[in-house]
Amino acid sequence: MKNLKLLNLNCREAGRLVSEGMDRELTLMERIGLRIHLVICSACRAWRRQLTLIRTAIRKDAAVAVGTAPEHVRTKLSDAARERIRSAIAARP
């Protein structure tokens, strides 16, 4: 994006930069332009909070799933799945 445009972002462009900033380093101009927009736009600030929450939740889900969380929070194999797997093991030639 041209530098001049970066100083006058609309929400679609700013929203895209918020998303990009989660996966790469923004350039200096992108950071400045985004900061200017976020100062005056509460909608995009809300979007940024939502993306942060989604990221936190997905990572937490991964952490919890690998058994680093207390027993009651972890996901278990359903009884039906267990039965299926038992049958598959028993059916081995």
């Binding site: 609309n10 990009e20 996966d23 909608a43 058994g67 929070v73 799945a81 267990r82 093991i89």
Partner: protein
């Protein structure tokens, strides 16, 4: 010379039964753990169940090579990691033809565009999810919330789901993801942006509405 076989050391005598019994034990003791592990890498619980099954069946095959150097759980986990890698390399959803994939990505594009007016303003202002100083990670403690989140992830088209997984779970950069998926960084950026808009919408409809 005795023909008696010692069940503990003789793997040639009734190996099938020996392996089967062991696998049943492993399922009881380690099944949940392996399931959780798989779930942290693949978003679909059915796929995770299949991976547990493949891991246990594969473990029976290589039981003879398990020298007991590490714990059984560590050994099973390493087999699981191979199965997960195989799964991720497999062309997924073979029944989804090229046309379906293209159609769902076009739908993603239209969906993303619909969020903004022609001048680039939000049509609907993003809502407040956490009240004030609520800790976002507290919401993720809820098993119900995680179920909804997983369901939302399953709704994403193939490539979007894969990109989100690499970006959020495996914490990769745009460059790394673009190398893996064979797509330019710019396109990955767009893909992730649209996928996040979709996830946001799904969570809003299925969790936050009315809370």
């Amino acid at each position: 010379m005795s023909n008696r076989s010692d069940p503990d050391t003789d793997h040639t005598a009734a190996p099938a039964k020996h392996g089967t019994e062991a696998a049943m034990r492993w399922l009881d003791e380690h099944g949940d753990y392996l399931f959780c592990y798989a779930l942290s890498r693949v978003t679909d619980s059915h796929v995770a169940e299949d991976l547990v099954q493949e891991t246990l069946l594969g473990a029976i095959q290589s039981h003879g090579q398990f020298g007991g150097r590490s714990s059984v759980r560590t050994w099973l986990t390493s087999i699981m990691r191979h199965k997960i890698a195989d799964h991720l390399r497999r062309p997924r959803r073979l029944h989804e033809g090229q046309d379906d994939a293209r159609a769902s990505e076009e739908a993603m594009e239209r969906f993303a565009d619909s969020h903004f007016t022609r001048s680039g303003k939000w049509r609907t202002v993003p809502g407040r999810w956490a009240k004030g100083s609520d800790d976002p990670s507290a919401i993720a403690e809820s098993e119900e919330f995680r179920k909804v989140l997983r369901a939302c992830l399953e709704e994403l088209p193939e490539r979007s789901a894969e990109a989100i997984d690499l970006a959020e779970r495996r914490e990769m950069t745009l460059k790394q993801i673009s190398n893996i998926l064979g797509v330019t960084s710019t396109n990955i950026g767009v893909l992730l942006y649209r996928a996040r808009l979709a996830l946001r919408r799904c969570l809003e409809l299925n969790w936050f509405r009315g809370r």
